[in-house]
Every structure is written in structure tokens, then in C-alpha cells.
Amino acid sequence: MLTLSAVSARYGSVPAISDVSISVGEGEAVGLLGANGAGKSTTLRAISGLIRATSGSITFLGADLAALPPHKIAELGIAHVPEGRQVFPELTVKENLEVGAYIPSAKAERNRTLELVFGIFPALAERRNQLAGTMSGGEQQMLAVGRGLMLKPRLLMLDEPSLGLAPVVTDATFAKIQEVHAMGTAILLVEQNVSRALGMVQRAYVLESGKVIIQGSSAELANNKQVQAAYLGM
């Protein structure tokens, strides 16, 4: 469904990722793991068009993403839940979700999707009229994921959903993400928390200094000596 072939991108003159080749299949959950600064977020930003790849190709369901602006890429069905939640602080919870369903195909089914999201995240339903900026970090993360779901995505890209959350809140968030995946949405999950990520994805890529250094199924990675030493503290 999503294929990156030898994608390189840079911030100014600093190379951020080089020759990254990854793929996500229909309905699959794939992890993009690695330390801070390894290029995970940059990869997501290149997919959603926030930065331009300097070389390589990115295709999604046959469409070449390289030529498209971010809002057109969203219309193809890619929801990117950015790092640090980034809810619209001065919009209410409900308004945040409504804006999430801005693309025409999502707008047509907005009310139904809203009920679905409220079903997955009951806390959001209770707080629907609250300004998003006044909620706790965990609630904002739920809202950011819910806002992504409002787009009715074929692919949901999540950037560090556990960032800054207490372990118990992280557990709850991951359970919800699993619930979303079970409904058939493909997921590309960026995480520093490797052990937790491997618990929910089928395959993963490990990035280091902007390059894919290891890839394989979750079980393979969990048993990989290098992964164990570098990321799992074994």
C-alpha cells in the first residue's frame, strides 16, 4: 500500500534520512523504531509531504506522493498524528475532531465517525465542549489519535504516541491503538519505546543515523542480539 524506495531527505544542509526503503501493507501494523534523532519523524514528515524527499520515490496506492502538497496527501487517506500531540489548543474537543474530518470523503460520514471515535475514547465524549488545550497530556494524546481517525484513514501514522505519558496512560493509549488496528486500519508506528512497540506491530524497521539498519518481524527483532543490547536493555 505504502512504499518508500531509497528515500533521502535533509533539513537545510543536514542530511536527516538517506536511502530509506520501507513498506506498509494493507491493514498491516508496522513499527519504525530507533533512538531520538535517528530520522523516524523525518520519515513520516516526508511521507505526509511536510518536507520534500531529495531523492527516491514514495508511492501510496499507486499515487506518487512526491509531487503532492500535504493537504492532497491527506485526501488520499493518510492521517499523520504528529509528535507532541499538537491538538488545536483553542478549539474544543468536538471542533478538533470536526476539523479532522475536513476532507470531502470524511466529511460525508463525519457524524458516524464521531460516534465511533467517542465509542473508542469515551473520555473525549465527556469533554466534547472543553478547550483541547486545557486537557491533560494523556487526554490530548487520545484526542490527537481520535482526530487522525476522523479522516477515515487507510493508513494511520503515529509519531511517539507514548511521549510524555505516564506508563499507565501509555498502556491505555496502546490498547486503543490496537483497537483501531483491529478495525482494519493500517498503522505506521514511530516509537522510542521499542519493547512496547514490538508488542503491537507485526513488522518493524530500526533506524540509526537516518538509515534502516535492521528489519524483520517483531519476533525476529525481539530476539535480535543487537536490538536487545541497544534498545531492550538486555
Partner: protein, 289 residues
């Protein structure tokens, strides 16, 4: 004394409604597009001349010519954003300031060339009409202008809070990048924001025409008041700009009444300096709710 005070407050509130239309436009453009439009006053001037020529040539009442000045200025705003502002958005503050400042000078000088520096006025049946409640007099033309200004402000509020495009505009104002991830096209939202802001300036021009002369530099007075209101009301905050504009209208009017006929602006600028000294972020919070 009390009657004089009440009269000054009423006069101030009524003209404050016009200031509000101008300052809401400035704060809307700043909040959404993140650019300071120094030329906003010149669009008031253009609105005035549109109403003046429609009145002098075709006998159209200035209030009716709102229906022409507002759409015309909306279109000018869309073109301004698409062909000029969009090109400097990626650059720093300086090119943006130069662009709108140059535009202001250019429009004033074009107006001088085309229309001369003469004062142009429009006489309507209600231009001199007043009525009074007790000892306080109301000028009918100013009261109509105020009422329509408040109506347009309320409509803007409904647009921003009740429509998808309005919500998308507020979202883009708060986080442009994430708004794009939602499928919002920022260029489109910015064009609408600048268009709406200029339409409000045009409305201010048409509403002024029955009781205020048009001349090429007329916009300078209103943009000055608008900038003070935008700062007092907290940059980007629409409700704040509205309230601050009414306060400034009253402050100016009290200044004229109790300090001296030419001293209205002194009171306004003392308010500005005190605010900047003690509440540098303005009197209100962030982006308007």
C-alpha cells in the same frame, strides 16, 4: 456634567464600531496569515470612494452600496493574498512589512492622482438626522453604522465558529502545519481570511460615507486606531479587538470632551503606553473564543 459624560460615551461607542471593523480585519489577517497589514486603512479609503462614486454617479445610498463595496474588497483581498502576500510568507518579517507598507503608500498616491486631495462627501436624507433620549443625542447615520458594524462582527463570529471553513481557519491560525495534515489547504484559507478582512474594511468605508468625508489619506486615522485596538485587545484575538475598539472610541471621545478638542488621541495613546507597560500581551488572552 452627567449628560455631557453620557453624550461623550455614546459618541465614542458609535465611532468605536467603525474602528472595530478595521481592527478586526487587521487582527484576523495577523492571527491567520501571521502578517501585519499596514495597508488596511487604504482599503477603508477604497470602500469610501466606491460608495462616493456610486452615490454621486448613480445616486446609490452609501448603505446600499455595502453590497458592492464588500464583495469588491473581498475579491481584492483574495487577489492580494494570492499574488502578493503568498510570495513573501516564507521570507522574514522585513519583506512582509515592506510589502504592506509599500502597498499603503502606493494606494494613497494612486488615490491622490485619480481623485485629488479634495474632500468628498455624500449627503443622505439621514446624514444630519438626530434623535434624543433624555439629554443624550444620537446621530442616526452613526447609529446605523454602529448597528451594521456589530451585525457584521457577529456574522464573522458565526462564520468562524459555525462553519467548516471557519473552523479550518481557526485551526490553521493555531497550527498551520497540523492543519495541512487534516487536508486543509492553507493558501485557500488565507485567501478567504484576507478577503473577509478587506470586505470588513470596505464595509467600514461605506458606513462612514454618510457622515465622514473621503480623501486619499483618510485611512491613516482608522488604521492608527486599529493598530492600537489590536495591541490592546491582544494580537490575533477578534473579540479582544472588538472590545478594545469600543473602549478606544470612548477614550478618544472623552479626551475630546474633557481634555481638549484636539486631544482625543492623547488619551488613546496614554492607554496604549500604559497597556504595553503593564500588560504587554494586551488585555485579553490568545486567539479569540
Amino acid at each position: 456634567m452627567l449628560a455631557t459624560l453620557a453624550q461623550a460615551v455614546v459618541n465614542g461607542l458609535l465611532i468605536g464600531g467603525i474602528y472595530a471593523l478595521v481592527s478586526i480585519g487587521v487582527t484576523l489577517i495577523f492571527g491567520v496569515v501571521k502578517i501585519v497589514n499596514f495597508a488596511q486603512g487604504e482599503f477603508v479609503m477604497i470602500g469610501m470612494y466606491i460608495s462616493f462614486f456610486l452615490a454621486s454617479t448613480f445616486g446609490v445610498d452609501p448603505l446600499l452600496s455595502l453590497l458592492i463595496s464588500m464583495p469588491s474588497l473581498f475579491a481584492i483581498g483574495v487577489l492580494l493574498q494570492h499574488f502578493l502576500i503568498r510570495r513573501v510568507l516564507a521570507l522574514g518579517d522585513m519583506p512582509q512589512i515592506f510589502l504592506t507598507f509599500a502597498l499603503s503608500l502606493l494606494l494613497m498616491n494612486i488615490a491622490l492622482l485619480l481623485f485629488t486631495a479634495n474632500y468628498r462627501t455624500v449627503q443622505t436624507p439621514y446624514s444630519e438626522l438626530t434623535f434624543h433620549i433624555g439629554p443624550v443625542y444620537f446621530a442616526v447615520a452613526k447609529l446605523i453604522a454602529f448597528a451594521i458594524a456589530m451585525l457584521l462582527s457577529a456574522l464573522l463570529y458565526l462564520f468562524l465558529h459555525g462553519t467548516d471553513l471557519g473552523k479550518a481557519m481557526r485551526a490553521a491560525a493555531q497550527n498551520r502545519e497540523v492543519a495541512m495534515l487534516m487536508g486543509i489547504n492553507p493558501d485557500r484559507v488565507f485567501c478567504v481570511a484576507v478577503g473577509v478582512a478587506l470586505a470588513l474594511a470596505g464595509a467600514a468605508g461605506s458606513l462612514l460615507m454618510p457622515f465622514y468625508p473621503a480623501y486619499p489619506l483618510v485611512g491613516q486615522i482608522f488604521v492608527l486606531m486599529a493598530f492600537v485596538a489590536v495591541v490592546l485587545g491582544t494580537l490575533g484575538n477578534i473579540t479582544g479587538a472588538l472590545i478594545a475598539s469600543l473602549m478606544m472610541g470612548v477614550a478618544e471621545s472623552l479626551g475630546v470632551q474633557f481634555v481638549g478638542a484636539d486631544s482625543g488621541l492623547i488619551v488613546v495613546f496614554v492607554m496604549l503606553l500604559l497597556t504595553l507597560a503593564f500588560r504587554p500581551n494586551g488585555l485579553f488572552g490568545g486567539w479569540a473564543r
